[in-house]
């Protein structure tokens, strides 16, 4: 992605524009206003007297607001400094933009200001593929507003654009004929509201009047509260203070509030393209943030618990007890051209769910949540034995049942070619990767503690501990690559070791499954020349068949 793109976001609503604030989306230029995995604006271009503007500077004020300082003319040398144009944009259920034009001359300026607007209503999954839309796009002018619309049966998405200053509105934009006094200014507030509804419905979703320049009345306060609620860290080495504060703000930007969670937030997988609930990512980020923001873990556990698999569904790779991989809200998901409603194709999220529940209780002492989620945690533990043992050898393995749009690799590394032998060949399915066994071991050990101390079920605790001990014993025997002194990345469908050296073995150290006698050798590999680049740990060791230093 080009570095001069400007991104602001609030949960799964985000705006990606160029440094002028303009949006001109194409298949190679994934800019736009996005919300709920749908592009609501693919064009948003400001002109003055038919001319594009140039950026002087951009202020990234907060992760949810930005300010663009512009001048007329498009050359590298400013051709016209008689006028300043300032766009102040804040996101939230769409966005608000204050457009301000200052006349620096002694004479009045008569100009025509124009915003061109349109939307392709692309699903996020379509943006890269530039797929043909199956529904109908129709823009209309309604009550002084421009409404960009898309309908496919009952599926309706709309973008509603209005202005505080009187505009002449047509189906592709808003125009303003403006006279600005000498040294005067002209301002309008533009509101761009994303609307999701069923056919026939026209309900508003804006949460703010467009006179107000705040995306939500409480957004800035919310960030201050977030910072104030986190532990206070003070250090006489200033960079640490700054890094800590920056990390908290970045975590705040990563927050995503699932609709059914009454405003509570969990960490999404990544901004801006992965601003949704993920099993693996939401759990691991919650786990790492536990000492600072344990409320993220609480929401993650509740939301993933609510969406825990309850039936067998091959399209979604769903099993009873399985924790979801990814939830999406766009058109392709709605019409089941993608399985993310939600999709369950992850083999690690389910044991990690139990790991997070235990670790959360250790940090927070919140036993009530562990009692509330007893059913879900037991269902997750049951999934490990009943649904994940696809090789019949007591190891967690995966093989997608949705062969068309499901994920081939349902583990820590989920790209299609991430699991390979030393010679670069790819193993067949099912695959039992090593870190999955570590998580399963950890889940059983931690589940045993919860069963004994909180659910008052010592029989279940004993059983889990026996199974964990047995898993550890077998794992250290079956996965160990003795001529290399590390654990294989996986066992293949025939129970043979997939023998490449990878970073996955790092997960085994924190899971506790590694025999003490083998831990030192594993650690040496992680910081040794084949895996450690000097910048970090390579995912695949130098010298392996598929190793590619830039891949």
């Amino acid at each position: 992605m080009s570095s001069d793109l400007v991104q602001i976001l609030d949960g799964n609503t985000f705006v990606v524009s160029d440094d002028r604030g303009d949006i001109e989306a194409s298949s190679t230029d994934p800019t736009g206003l996005f919300s709920f995995d749908t592009r609501f604006l693919s064009k948003w271009v400001l002109t003055v007297d038919g001319e594009r503007l140039s950026a002087l500077s951009v202020d990234d004020l907060q992760y949810f607001e930005a300010r663009f300082f512009l001048v007329r003319g498009t050359g590298t040398v400013y051709v016209d400094a008689k006028m300043s144009v300032i766009r102040m944009r804040a996101v939230g259920d769409g966005f608000i933009e204050r457009l301000q034009i200052l006349n620096h001359e002694d004479e009045a300026a008569k100009i025509r200001v124009r915003i061109d607007a349109d939307s392709d209503f692309a699903d996020l999954f379509e943006v890269k593929d530039a797929l043909e839309k199956k529904g109908v796009r129709k823009n209309r002018v309604e009550g002084g507003r421009l409404v960009l619309g898309y309908e496919r049966g009952p599926f309706v998405r709309e973008t509603r654009i209005s202005s505080t200053a009187r505009a002449s509105v047509d189906e592709l934009g808003l125009s303003f004929d403006v006279t600005i006094k000498p040294h005067g200014e002209w301002t309008t507030n533009l509101a761009v509201v994303t609307a999701i509804g069923a056919a026939g419905e026209r309900h508003e979703r804006t949460k703010y009047g467009h006179q107000r320049m705040e995306p939500r009345p409480n957004m800035a306060t919310d960030l201050e509260t977030w910072l104030a609620d986190a532990p206070d860290l003070r250090c006489d080495w200033a960079p640490l203070n700054e890094a800590y504060r920056r990390s908290l703000i970045d975590l705040a930007a990563l927050r995503f509030r699932p609709l059914a969670m009454a405003g509570h937030a969990l960490p999404a997988a990544g901004l801006p393209w992965f601003m949704t609930m993920f099993g693996r990512d939401s759990i691991l980020t919650s786990l790492q943030a536990l000492p600072f923001t344990p409320e993220l873990a609480q929401t993650t556990l509740r939301a993933l618990g609510a969406w825990q698999g309850a039936r067998l569904d091959d399209f979604r790779d769903e099993d009873p007890g399985r924790i979801l991989h990814e939830m999406r809200y766009g058109e392709l998901t709605a019409f089941e051209e993608r399985p993310h409603s939600p999709y369950y194709g992850a083999a690690d999220a389910t044991p990690l769910y139990v790991v997070l529940l235990d670790e959360y209780e250790r940090w927070s002492g919140d036993r009530a949540l562990v009692r509330d989620l007893e059913y879900e945690a037991r269902a997750a533990l049951n999934w490990i034995d009943e649904y994940a043992d696809l090789q019949g050898n007591g190891y967690v393995a995966y093989r997608r049942r949705n062969e068309e749009t499901g994920l081939e690799n349902q583990c820590w590394k989920d790209s299609w070619d991430s699991i390979s032998y030393r010679d670069g060949k790819l193993p067949g399915f099912p695959r039992a990767t090593c870190e999955l066994q570590g998580y399963a071991y950890d889940a059983k050990v931690r589940g045993a503690r919860l069963a004994r101390e909180i659910w008052r079920d010592p029989g279940f605790a004993d059983r889990l501990e026996r199974e964990a001990a047995d898993l550890k014993r077998r794992f250290n025997r079956d996965f160990w690559v003795s001529d290399g002194g590390y654990f294989a990345i996986a066992l293949d469908a025939d129970g043979r070791r997939v023998d490449s050296l990878t970073s996955n073995i790092g997960h085994l150290l924190w899971s506790g499954i590694v025999d003490k006698s083998k831990a030192r050798s594993v650690a040496r590999h992680l910081v040794g020349p084949a895996l450690f680049s000097g910048w970090g740990v390579r995912t695949l060791a130098e010298g392996e068949g598929r190793y590619n230093p830039i891949g």
């Binding site: 049966g153 009952p154 599926f155 069923a198 059914a260 009454a262 039936r311 769903e318 409603s341 059913y375």
Partner: protein, 119 residues
């Protein structure tokens, strides 16, 4: 639901709710308390099914009283949901059902719908 069961032909809808109410405590709903009302439209009339959940215990009636969540949809879509042909979340995203009120109730409730028939 028993009150009206005899008057009405036992539709798949009635069978689904009868079964749900007859289970005793449904573990998938044991953290749930509240009333969710399904307004099922068959094109001519609207059937109301009001499901009151008290920590997993389920009572079903035809009450039209205020509920914590109201879900409006075509009866044929609902029949699809209770037979595993229609996924509730995908149908919601398509706009085939319109949930109002407490969305967490609907999220929890969708867990009791069956999965698709498997080959």
């Amino acid at each position: 639901m028993r009150s009206s069961g005899s008057e009405r032909r036992r539709s798949p809808t009635a069978a689904f709710f009868d079964d749900l109410a007859g289970r005793g405590c449904e573990p998938l709903l044991r953290n749930v308390s509240g009333t969710i009302r399904f307004d099922l439209d068959d094109g001519e009339s609207v059937e109301h099914w009001s499901v009151t959940i008290a920590e997993g215990d389920v009572e079903v009636s035809h009450s039209r009283a205020r509920a914590d969540a109201v879900v409006r949809l075509d009866k044929s879509t609902f029949d699809g949901m209770i037979s595993g042909r229609v996924n509730a979340m995908a149908a919601t995203l398509r706009g085939e059902l319109v949930p109002e009120g407490d969305l967490s109730l609907m999220t929890m409730f969708q867990r009791v719908f069956p999965g698709p028939a498997r080959a």
